[in-house]
Symmetry: C2
Subunit: 137 residues, 2 copies
């Protein structure tokens, strides 16, 4: 068989129903099911008014956030960017990031794509949370 | 300013309206606008009955195809996988691939994510088309 692998994430509207083995709802890591080499992807659903529990940054990974639908905001260090259908944000190393869905909106669906210039599983853990940094919403 | 960059792709339903500088319609490379390091992404719209002009493979890049909506098929060497909302396919090196939207369906919207274990722009061109291989639809 050729070197490919298939995973059915289901329709975007249903991503919020996914519950991981550790009990996290609405965040599914494609690369925990499919053995990828360089590409990490999570499929995310955020309820209205919900979002990141804290800021986090990466020292090695580049991340690209691609918002599929919904409305909200993304905080990048001290700046806030409004996000909606098709908003795509590349985040470099060291930038503290957090996401929030508008309380009055339909929620948010987005993909977080990550890669680090090497085989993903051979990279050390490079994420750091900053629970001291106050979320701006 | 922090190290991030924003691109508005617009709503998924409107991706088919995008025309590149070279005149290609419905295929937009995020990394031609945003200066990414490791991550390449194209946002794609395929009309019903349309699809890849030929098979192609990569010798270095890993690709992950994430279908957002619509119905169609993806050919991977001699196999055919039906694709629909949320179908995600990791394609390894050397696999010839092509995509086709069902003639009777609404078309297809998908993302093609690519990475090669190094700074993307420093990798040599690694794609090869196989116009001799007959498309299966």
């Amino acid at each position: 068989m050729s070197d490919y692998e298939v995973l059915e994430l289901g329709p975007v509207e249903a991503w919020g129903d996914y519950v991981s083995e550790s009990g996290t709802k609405g965040k599914r890591f494609v690369d925990r099911t499919i053995a990828t080499q360089y590409i990490g992807v999570s499929a995310n659903a955020v309820e209205p008014g919900e979002g990141s529990a804290a800021f986090h940054a990466h020292s090695l990974l580049e991340e690209l956030y691609l918002f599929i639908d919904g409305t909200g905001e993304m905080a990048l260090d001290d700046e806030i960017v409004p996000v909606g259908p098709g908003t795509t944000i590349r985040v470099g190393q060291g930038v503290q990031r957090a996401i929030h869905a508008d309380p009055e909106g339909p929620g948010l669906h987005y993909l977080c794509i990550r890669s680090g210039g090497d085989v993903l599983k051979e990279l050390p853990r490079d994420a750091s949370r900053d629970p001291e940094r106050t979320l701006p919403w």
